[in-house]
């Protein structure tokens, strides 16, 4: 098949009675067979929400979501077919009353897998999550990590075309977490299974994923390879900083030690013509540079690359471009608040 597994165009979603005006808006997203995508971003960014859309549990309120060449929401039969191929493991999984084996059997039953094949598939899946022989145990009284592993096995036993995982290793011990990553990579490589997982562990994202989608407040944040810096953090107790290049400090709030990766949302970066240096003040996170590239996109955004040994990507509303006095090759100043620096993870 040459179809994309998922193809999303301008997909929008809002909770009907949300406590806040959160909405998810994704201009475009394409996922192919065997691809592994990581969803990263702060709490409330919309990672879980996106996963429920990809699992066809919530229906987009706008835009086009095509799954394997079809609109899964056309009718209930389509939706059912789609859901049979894309299985979600939620971050706090629900286990049906009964035994672990009952839980793993459920998906096989609804798929009419013959009864005599089930024990083998169940056994294999439990082996993968390192709970061999746990079939007959009741699900009541499992520890947090044990429950998460059972849920993972329940999905793996179905050999789905797409595996959707919400913080799959958050409660799993570190060693097993690493081995689970290996299992996912292997299954994906061998069977072409597409995997989308959310994580707060940036190193896990970079280890496991082919691509990372960074979400913030329901929007994709475009980094390319820019706006994402690593370094060993130092701190004065109130603020911390890393120096991605000697002498260039990226400052963020709080007392942080150790190696960290941080990202800055392009929309949070102010760009000023170099002539207006006074406006930038002499606080932290002010960088001088030069515009190296400009793009204009449909959404009415201008993408400006600024280089000053580091490369940043910033966005400016098209309407403001003319007034800003910013154009290609012109020297500019960049400035952003320490509070708008996201620590995306610690990196080994």
């Amino acid at each position: 098949m040459t179809d994309a597994v998922y193809s999303l165009q301008d997909v929008r979603f809002a909770y009907p009675r949300g406590p806040s005006p959160f909405s998810l808006e994704l201009d475009a997203l394409r996922l192919d067979h065997g691809e592994i995508l990581a969803l990263v971003g702060p709490n409330g960014a919309g990672k879980t929400t996106l996963l429920t859309l990809l699992a066809f549990l919530n229906r987009p309120s706008g835009g086009r979501l095509i799954f394997l060449g079809r609109d899964p929401w056309q009718d209930e039969t389509r939706a059912l077919q789609a859901r049979r191929q894309a299985v979600l493991v939620t971050h706090h999984p629900y286990l049906f009353k009964g035994t672990i084996s009952d839980n793993l059997a459920f998906g096989l039953e609804v798929r009419d897998i013959p009864e005599d094949e089930r024990p083998a598939r169940i056994g294999e899946a439990l082996d993968l999550v390192e709970l061999p022989g746990w079939e007959k145990r009741s699900v009541s009284g499992l520890s947090a990590g044990q429950a998460q592993r059972v849920a993972l096995a329940r999905a793996l036993a179905l050999r789905p075309a797409v595996l959707l995982l919400d913080e799959p290793t958050a409660n799993i011990d570190a060693g097993l977490g690493l081995r689970m990553e290996a299992v996912l990579r292997e299954v994906s490589r061998n069977t072409g299974m597409t995997v989308v997982f959310s994580t707060h562990n940036f190193s896990q994202a970079s280890r496991l994923a082919d691509d990372i989608l960074y979400l913030s407040d329901g929007r994709r944040v475009e980094f390319g390879h820019e706006n994402c810096f690593s370094g060993r953090a130092e701190t004065d107790g109130r603020q911390s900083w890393i120096e991605p290049r000697p002498g260039l400090r990226v400052v963020f709030p709080g007392e942080v030690r150790g190696r960290v990766t941080c990202v800055i949302n392009p929309a949070d970066i102010r760009v000023l013509p170099a002539g207006r240096a006074a406006e930038a003040g002499n606080g932290p996170n002010v960088f001088a540079g030069r515009v190296t590239r400009m793009e204009t996109t449909e959404a009415g955004l201008a993408l400006v690359r600024v280089s000053g040994d580091l490369t940043f990507r910033v966005t400016l509303p098209v309407g403001e471009l003319d007034a800003s006095g910013i154009s290609l090759s012109r020297p500019v100043l960049l400035k952003f608040e320490p509070g708008s620096v996201d620590i995306a993870g610690t990196r080994p």
């Binding site: 549990l57 894309a86 939620t90 049906f96 009353k97």
Partner: protein, 214 residues
């Protein structure tokens, strides 16, 4: 009272009320599932009406169905007034809101994630509904048994629609009422005890049966 008459009355009670509980459950449980798993405008009103319906006295329900089923009424042609069928129909109507209310409460107790988990594992909407029912199996059983208890213990509908005709529609409760009217209070209490013993047995059998079916 002749033993044979008592046996017959027991049989009538169990048959009509058992059937009523079954039929009512088949209507009420899906309705409760619908209510419990969906939020829609007017849902509160539906629940309010259901709640109010529970306050309908048996005599009033009896009167309503009497008007419907009597010879000159719209369904008089069926000729089911003063039959066990009429009793069952009236009792279904009586216990519907009770089973709906009980089942609704029972089904709300099921984690919302049960349904979505079933869906994402590939269940159809119907199968996901069945999963929710299964997760609430025990409280649903309690709901059905409460409906049966209500039907088997009521007397107004059995009187009005069954007619308490000896050898035909006389059940335990109408027998008790009759014995009481005759002043045979002791007989009434003894029959009541028999009814309760039977219900205990049935509850026990059903609950144990379902437990072991796990």
């Amino acid at each position: 009272m002749i033993a044979q008459e008592v046996f017959y009355a027991i049989w009538v009670s169990l048959k009509t009320s058992g059937l009523a509980a079954l039929v009512a459950s088949f209507l009420a449980v899906p309705a409760a599932l619908f209510l419990a798993s969906r939020d829609f405008r007017g849902k509160r009103l539906v629940l309010l009406v259901n709640q109010t319906w529970m306050a309908a006295p048996t005599v009033v329900i009896g009167l309503l169905f009497y008007a419907l089923l009597s010879r000159t009424g719209p369904f008089g042609g069926l000729g089911i007034l003063y039959t066990q069928t009429a009793m069952t129909v009236g009792q279904i109507f009586l216990i519907l809101p009770l089973i709906v209310g009980f089942s609704y409460t029972a089904l709300r107790q099921v984690d919302r994630r049960a349904r979505t988990t079933a869906l994402t594992l590939g269940a159809s909407r119907r199968q996901a509904g069945l999963v929710v029912l299964r997760e609430a199996k025990f409280p649903l059983l309690v709901a059905v048994l409460a409906g049966f208890a209500r039907a088997v213990s009521e007397v107004g509908i059995a009187m009005m629609l069954g007619g308490n005709i000896r050898g035909e529609t006389r059940n335990i409760t109408t027998t008790i009422a009759l014995e009481t009217a005759k002043g045979e209070f002791t007989t009434g209490v003894v029959l009541g005890a028999i009814l309760l013993a039977l219900t205990l047995g049935i509850n026990f059998a059903v609950i144990v049966g379902f437990r072991s079916g796990d």
